[in-house]
Amino acid sequence: MSEQPVRIAQITCGAEYSGIQNEITTAAETVGSKMFYPDVALKDVKCAYKDFGLPVKSPDLKLAISRAQAIVEGRIEADGIFIASCFRCAEAAIVRNELRRYIVENSRIPVVSYSFNERTGASTLLTRLEALTTIARRRSLMAREVQVGTTMGVDSGSSTTKCIIMQDNEIIGTGWRPTTEVLKSADEVIALALEESGLKMSDIEATATTGYGRFLVGKHMNADLVQEELTVNSKGAVYLANAQKGFATVIDIGGMDNKAISVNDGIPGSFTMGGICAGASGRFLEMTAKRLDVDITELGALSMKSEGGEDVPMNSYCIVFGTQSLVNALAAGYKREDVAAAACHSVAQQVYEQQLQEVDIKEPVIMVGGSSLIQGLVRAMGRMLNTEVVVPHHSQYIGATGGALLASGFIDKKKEA
């Protein structure tokens, strides 16, 4: 890679002693960035700790506060910030959250926060650091607000593959298929989108891929942009929801994991990704639909027949226990619609408890991805956050749309070349 590595400031507590420092360094290097420790003097530590006003006891957390302050005040330059601390440490969790908030409010530097244990590997960190690196390196690309020319985006997700063709800021072709074989599914959705738009592949001026299969599909179709889904989805979301200026929060409950992204002027500021168990993901809702004998596309309508299902005992913290709760609720005589609503409520609750605590929720809250079409889930999330959740048109095509939008940045470059 000829580009200069993106410099990511590491503000962590406990990484070396958890035995995972090498995993962090390796993940950063894999995505073309370099971790560094912001250099502060003892005097800075003492004063930062006093000025910040959070009287923590752990010296390494005092050091973390001082390092963050040195970056925000411009004494040390960084392209991105990685804040992390040990999972289950309350003191560090408070510092992590407050530092993230402080950085987002006082600087334009992208930040990701994470809690680790000794099992955290480089692969877990990879997508997060890739997104952080992208935001830092491709700020001008990310700033695009209008689609131009004729472009295509392909989102090769864990459950479904999607394709969008855009022309002059309008969606003119769509394709959607469950993911079976990655390349075959991609070819199918591309063919569907081309057919709907009435175009040929040679009419497409630039392409982008995202999602789990992005590298494989990107190579297959020689894509101009191959990009992780955190940045692409958030871009697609604010574009479709017409919320490109100011703050927004994007929630994507996916088939395998969930993303919560805090966006400012169309550019992701902080984000989380994960989900301890499939119980807190779209997968649990698929299982619910199967058990209730309805198609997943009908689960939303069914759940809306219920008031919310909050009184049905349901815990999707673990998908195994969650499924057991489903069976028990039905056996106890609860109505199918109440059980459907309870499943939606449970997933929303897990996402709220596990992930939304790591980003600042600012309105509008935009839900995207296939699960955003399940009205019961959107309603449950809205109640949880006490806000009207926005679901933009084509929300299930969010990654593909974001890809098509960002791909238009490559048209001029190709013409120049």
Binding site: F36, P38, D39, A41, L42, K43, V45, K46, K50, D60
Partner: protein, 152 residues
């Protein structure tokens, strides 16, 4: 995972710090070089680091301590000197331990005075001094005081 083959197995490394109006870090390093006999000496901004067999390192330290008995301080180090894993140039910033040293080096002038005074004491006087209460309240840190004055 890459295998790891350690270097300098069986050696020890010690930091030698000096905080004195009479002896410079360079004096310490020069004196250590003079009797090094092949032992690895690395001059630093605070004194030097010595890496070798435990006997060799102790021999050199015993010699160095004589130069300024109350103002030379020695401590074990886990890493050999210049190790890229701990080097400021590679990490972008100081390893955390550096700041701890910085803190304690601000206090060693009291230790130097204590060492000098206790050296002159009889066993009874030492016992009496050891039994003194350290009742003075913790003084306001000088850096904090400075920042408060700036705020005013």
């Amino acid at each position: 995972m890459k295998p790891y083959v350690p270097q300098y197995v069986g050696t020890i490394t010690k930091y030698v710090f000096v905080d004195s109006p009479d002896t410079t870090p360079q004096d310490i390093a020069t004196a250590a070089y003079e009797i090094a006999q092949g032992v690895m000496i690395k001059e630093t901004c605070f004194g030097c680091q010595i890496t070798g067999s435990p006997e060799d390192v102790e021999r050199i330290i015993a010699h160095l301590r004589k130069l300024d008995p109350y103002r030379i301080y020695v401590k074990d180090r886990g890493f050999p000197p210049g190790d890229a894993r701990r080097c400021r140039a590679d990490l972008g910033g100081a390893r955390p331990g550096y700041l701890g040293h910085e803190y304690e080096m601000g206090l060693v002038r009291y230790i130097a005075y204590g060492l000098q005074e206790t050296d002159r004491m009889t066993p009874e006087e030492l016992k009496a001094a050891a039994g003194q209460e350290m009742s003075m309240p913790k003084a306001l840190d000088i850096d904090i005081l400075e920042s408060l004055m700036k705020e005013e």
